[in-house]
Chain length 311, copies 2
Amino acid sequence: MTNPATKETIRICEVGPRDGLQMAKSRMETGTKVRWIAAIAAAGVREIEVGSFVPPRVIPQLSDTQEVVARSLEIPGFAVQALVPNLRGAQNAYNTGAHRISFPVSVSEGHSRANLNRTPADSIAEAKRMMQWVKAQERKMPVIAGCSTAFGCSIDGVVTTDQVVRVATGLAEAGVDEIALADTVGYGHPAQIKEVVRAVRAAIGDVLVGLHLHDTCGLGIANALAGVEEGIRMFDSSLAGLGGCPYAPGASGNIVTEDLVFMLESMGFSTGIDLDKLIAARAILHEGLPDEPMHGQVQKAGIPKTFRAAA
Amino acid sequence: MTNPATKETIRICEVGPRDGLQMAKSRMETGTKVRWIAAIAAAGVREIEVGSFVPPRVIPQLSDTQEVVARSLEIPGFAVQALVPNLRGAQNAYNTGAHRISFPVSVSEGHSRANLNRTPADSIAEAKRMMQWVKAQERKMPVIAGCSTAFGCSIDGVVTTDQVVRVATGLAEAGVDEIALADTVGYGHPAQIKEVVRAVRAAIGDVLVGLHLHDTCGLGIANALAGVEEGIRMFDSSLAGLGGCPYAPGASGNIVTEDLVFMLESMGFSTGIDLDKLIAARAILHEGLPDEPMHGQVQKAGIPKTFRAAA
């Protein structure tokens, strides 16, 4: 079904060590976290969000981010990414040596106030300050801005395409290197993904690179497919779909990296990831957080014998 | 995001009472089964596969099919469908009063021999005999043939598009009313769904109406989306994704009706189904089979407040 000679690459950024652990009920020990990150990298994942430079009291599970970033830098083969909520976080990330940073901006007013205690306009102003500082540094540190609640908000409800376009445009003008659209609460559906991606791309072009999707309502992988069909070539995902949704107890978290890789590789895209090794990395996650539910269908079913076989 | 004036209909055939129960570890009591079917019908599902006219020793869970069909006929508002493996089954279904029958034909030799103890060519010959008999009867009883293992086989591995086209063409020539392609073991991926649907439609036109998908590897809903995008307007699915895969212990079963309806209605299609009532029907399933795992994300997360809200 696929022609290896024409394989197109899709980037996968593993966000389990940040978005997944931040929702976990207990705290993963730092040494285990670093071994887990190393196992994910060994499977061929080339971008991993390893932590978040937020005050330790806000997210205790990620209070060791500085150490995790430092030790991750010793693991070869992947870009060490950290989330930062503001300029100060960016400075901390830079000083620790992070290769890349992500900067979340809520599109909806309600989520923005609840989660970041500021308006979307405030966030764009912060992005501008941050980019000025980042670009003045000696070392290059690319910044990817994530437009949170781009497909709906558990507080405000509907988020319009115009709202997303406005925030994405503001961020592009602020000078961020890349932008991803995030279905933070998992309300999005495929037709909406396509509509919003098209509208944002019409406004900011190729600065839009990625989608950050949650599987809250079971549409995560279908939404990823919709993104692929609209030309998106970068996805955030989480090993074992670790995490959840603070607004929907029992709901699953980010889309499952294993299932996403299975789909993309089956369809003839190259992710650079070894699916067997990726599945093997689940063992360390389970060791570090034995009580955390682990999602993912391809691991349960076993990799089909038709995987990567030409028909 | 959607325009109610242009809503297109998508048919959903609930197959939980047949494909789901057939995989269940215990047997659902007949009265509970009928109440469950009534609850699904009350939610607006207009096609339900309520059982299978196979010898009771083959599938004990469905040995009450004759009674279930008879009692289902008293429930208003839906087409009572039964699976039949051969002409004799079709005769039993007709005599019991079934509105429609489904007839499975394995595309792969291995699955055909293991599951039906005959070759695909034998099945097509049986379809021909069956259609002659069915069409000679006074009452109309439409026949939908399902091409099993159309996207891969756990025994034979890869199933080629040509194999599917050959079997589908044979069935169309045998005179079946409708044809569905089944991803029996859940090996299919979206690009393959599109390729095979296109090829089969090129061969047999609009006799191809449906897809029967399993979520074995987590791609079920994405595969449904791929089908929708190729113009498929009929899907089999199962409440709570009941069932499983005999070849993959721990794997989930058919795609989850609730999640499928959530996606399709969100995208602006009309299924005629009330999602709240559909979710409520899970309670009877759980009552009848308390030990059976129940899948479905939208039920866990709760229906988002943006559902069916125009943006």
